[in-house]
């Protein structure tokens, strides 16, 4: 039953060689290093996947409609620095909520320009990347250290063995999975990416659904920014450069098509974990930074090549 549903999601976690690649990586990691299977390292892996995870999930929504959101890295910075800055005067939950709301607002503007004015998503969100980064600096040129220790809770604490942030990510992924597979809006979003005109002719309000995806992306980027500021304990206006590339990579490694209409929550999760795993392993093996970069690229290509046969002809 659940397997059937996962199949409906055309998940890549279920599909052969992607899982094989994963398992091989894990076995190699566990047997050849002492530190991989330690609690500390597993916790690190979980923590280090939080930002990419949230961003990739929002990106997935946008990509499904055939769009793209390059502004997420800047939104991370803006949301984080606003939350940290406001926490000096406001209750922490409110300050954080305002930070996230700033992310939603950014998403709203992006979404309006793309959905109603039909501008190309790439240019709109690239312009947003620049503008929002500028706004983060305008808000505060220098890093902001939240004074109240409570600010650190969401990014630092654990419930049992699980970091709070990781639990949030898991919850958000579960929600997104239900949203995309079991709600009308979710299905419409996927359909829009497949054939926008067909969906319009079926009487669906296409612009509204597209708008929603950008707002979700903005929301998750805002959330990621707040959690990151909380985790680092300091909010920097410079944080988040090139985060969008990682997020997009996670989606695409997970089987999403940038043309829209194809992509899955579980696949994206796989992509996120895989990326974190590659970084983690290269560090554990003490591969030097430049060679890390060389190898990371090669591994990504290898993984994509390995699972090629299943989708592409």
């Amino acid at each position: 039953m659940i397997v059937q549903r996962l199949r409906d999601d055309r998940s890549l976690l279920i599909n052969g060689s992607f899982v094989v690649a994963f398992v091989v990586l894990l076995i190699v990691a566990a047997t050849t290093t002492d530190s991989f299977m330690t609690d500390d390292n597993i916790t690190n892996l979980m923590k280090q996947s939080v930002t990419t995870g949230l961003l990739a999930l929002g990106m997935l929504m946008v990509i499904l409609t055939g769009g793209i959101d390059l502004s997420v890295g800047s939104v991370v910075a803006l949301a984080g620095i606003m939350a940290a800055g406001l926490s000096a005067d406001l209750p922490i939950p409110l300050a954080m909520a305002i930070g996230v709301a700033a992310g939603v607002a950014c998403g709203f503007v992006n979404g309006m320009l793309v959905a109603r004015f039909r501008l190309a998503p790439f240019v709109v969100t690239l312009a947003a990347l620049t503008t929002i980064r500028g706004l983060a600096y305008v808000y505060s040129e220098t890093p902001v250290t939240p004074t109240d220790i409570g600010f650190l809770w969401i990014g630092t604490e654990s419930i049992g063995p699980f970091p709070v942030a990781t639990l949030i990510v898991v919850a958000v992924f579960a929600l997104a999975w239900v949203f995309l597979t079991r709600t009308g809006a979710g299905r419409a979003i996927i359909a829009i990416g497949g054939n926008r005109e067909a969906v319009r002719l079926a009487g669906v309000n296409v612009p509204r659904h597209i708008l929603v995806t950008y707002m979700i992306s903005g929301f998750l980027a805002g959330l990621a920014g707040v959690i990151l500021a909380s985790r680092v304990g300091i909010a920097q206006p410079s944080v988040g450069v090139a985060f969008e590339l990682n997020a997009i990579a996670a989606c695409v490694i997970g089987g999403a098509s940038l043309a829209g209409g194809r992509g899955s929550v579980l696949g994206t999760l796989g992509g996120v974990v895989l990326l974190a795993l590659i970084d983690n392993l290269l560090t554990l093996y003490d591969v030097q930074s430049y060679w890390q970069q060389v190898l990371k690229g090669l591994i990504i290509v290898a993984v994509v090549l390995a699972r090629r046969t299943e989708d592409e002809r």
């Binding site: 299905r187 419409a188 359909a191 497949g194 054939n195 067909a198 002719l201 009487g203 309000n205 209409g261």
Partner: protein, 493 residues
């Protein structure tokens, strides 16, 4: 029930509807006929809210309506099957049929119920044999068309508009469609039916309205008129004879196969097409004709058997090699594999012959332009301007551009898959004459068609496929519709 007054529409300054006045009532089947580019699809797009009219009023049940969006039209019970397929390829049949209206339980989509409802809809429309879970892109064009029809039936329509639904349907499937239309008519639904197949129109319609150059040219009942008359109204000229007289002696074999097999598609196909010959291929949906054509053209691999060109066994690896050997292939899906919609008529027409236009390393655009204009003249492509994006042409004219592309490549063997889909009668006559002339000069033609009269009338002999096998080879002079149908469903001796 439906009333139009002075409806006008212009695309980027060029008016294509010049003031349409039109009435129709519930429980009526009104056929709309007209030449390619007359404005039929445009009128329909206005009625379903897909494009906005520039002027005029539309009233439903005596009340004026805006029809600002597809949703507004749907709310009035207006449902449409468009000329071009509008499915989401990667989604299942169920999702396509219930797009935007999936059944829910507790706020979430109830998939079992959705599949069940789709199955029920498909069987109501008579199109059984399509699995609701299959992704739409895996269906043949004909089955996709059935899904479109089921989709239009998803919520009880009060007015059903069908824009050339029959272009890809044949035999039983067409009968199913007619049965559906009749039952809707009995329920008081208004059906608007656009088709270039006039025999169908005479059979199903209560009234026939002819549109010519964006104006209503005539309206009559089938009793008052006949096919010839309608053609005259559409084309403004009388057509003496639709199919040319063919009395050719076939020459030597140009294309032949022995035991050609592609697993899951067709088996043991042995055929031959000779110089000066037009060979028809008839069969039901899914009988494997399209896949056979693709293999002949090396667009898809085959698993066993031999292909001969001019008597020599060849092993072609790509369409490029096939073209170099003098093959040409007009596919059945002009939107999916025939045309680059965003590009101009000229770019599309020149696509298969790019190396030919080279002079000093550059395209000789004068020569290219002259050749294309000449071909468009012969095929009567409208409008004649070659710089228009091909997507702005009417469906039938797009099809002519595909033909122009391949005729320009001066093939020795021309493979046609449903070549007259959406092409109006007058243009079809032009095409048949063109083929006739080319075969006189030694061309061989393999013509796949689901149109029985065409496959008999325009060919020298007809091959019939049934479930992937060639089951009959009948000289056209001896063929009749019953016989071919019987072969195609596997009941003839």
């Amino acid at each position: 029930m439906l009333s139009l007054r002075g409806v006008r529409k212009a695309y980027s300054g060029v008016e294509v509807l010049h003031g349409i006045d039109f009435e129709a009532h519930g429980g009526e089947v009104v056929a709309i006929a007209g030449a390619n580019g007359a404005g039929k699809s445009t009128l329909i797009k206005i009625l379903c809210g897909a494009v906005a009219r520039d002027a005029g009023t539309i009233a439903v049940d005596g009340r004026e309506v805006a029809l600002g969006s597809p949703a507004a039209a749907a709310a009035l019970g207006i449902r449409t099957v468009h000329q071009e397929l509008t499915l989401v390829p990667q989604l299942s049949v169920t999702e396509n049929v219930l797009l935007g209206d999936l059944p829910k339980r507790g706020g979430l989509v109830d998939w079992p119920a959705a599949h069940e409802r789709t199955r029920a809809l498909l069987s109501r429309t008579g199109f059984t044999g399509v699995d609701p879970r299959t992704p739409a892109k895996r269906l043949s064009v004909a089955r996709q068309q059935m899904v479109e029809i089921a989709k239009a039936m998803a919520s009880e329509p009060r007015m059903l508009i069908l824009d050339e639904p029959s272009a890809v349907l044949a035999g039983d499937d067409l009968d199913q469609l007619f049965a559906l239309i009749r039952s809707l008519r009995a329920d008081g639904v208004l059906v608007l039916y656009v088709s270039h197949r006039l025999d169908e129109v005479m059979e199903i319609a209560d009234r026939i309205t002819v549109i010519k150059d964006g104006l209503i040219a005539a309206t009559s009942t089938p009793r008052e008129t006949n096919e010839e008359e309608i053609v005259r109204q559409m084309a403004g000229r009388r057509l003496e004879q639709i199919y040319p007289d063919r009395r050719e002696k076939p020459g030597r074999e140009l294309l032949g196969t022995t035991g050609l097999t592609r697993e899951g598609a067709f088996e043991e196909v042995s055929l031959s097409v000779c110089a000066g010959e037009v060979v028809g291929v008839f069969g039901l949906v899914g009988s494997g004709r399209t896949e056979l054509a693709e293999c002949l053209f090396a667009a898809a691999p085959h698993d066993a058997g031999e292909i001969r060109l001019a008597g020599r066994a060849v092993r072609l690896r790509s369409p490029k090699e096939a073209i170099a050997q003098g093959l040409a292939f007009v596919t059945e899906d002009r939107k999916g594999s025939g045309l680059v919609l965003d590009l101009s008529v000229r770019d599309n027409a020149a696509l298969a012959t790019l190396p030919r236009w080279r002079r000093h390393g550059l395209l000789d655009r004068k020569r290219q332009q002259a050749a294309i204009e000449d071909m468009n003249e012969r095929l009567d492509v409208r409008p004649r301007t070659t710089s228009k994006p091909v997507k702005q042409l009417s469906g039938g004219n797009q099809q002519k551009v595909v033909l122009a592309k391949w005729l320009l490549s001066r093939p020795k063997v021309l493979i046609l898959d449903e070549p007259t889909r959406g092409v109006d009668v007058a243009a079809r006559v032009d095409l048949y004459r063109e083929i006739d002339q080319l075969t006189r000069a030694g061309l061989g033609v393999l013509m796949i068609s689901s149109d029985l009269t065409e496959v008999i009338g325009a060919t020298d002999r007809v091959l019939v496929m049934h479930e992937g096998r060639l089951v009959a080879d009948v000289p056209s002079a001896e063929a009749d519709e019953e016989l071919l149908l019987a072969h195609s469903i596997g009941v003839a001796a």
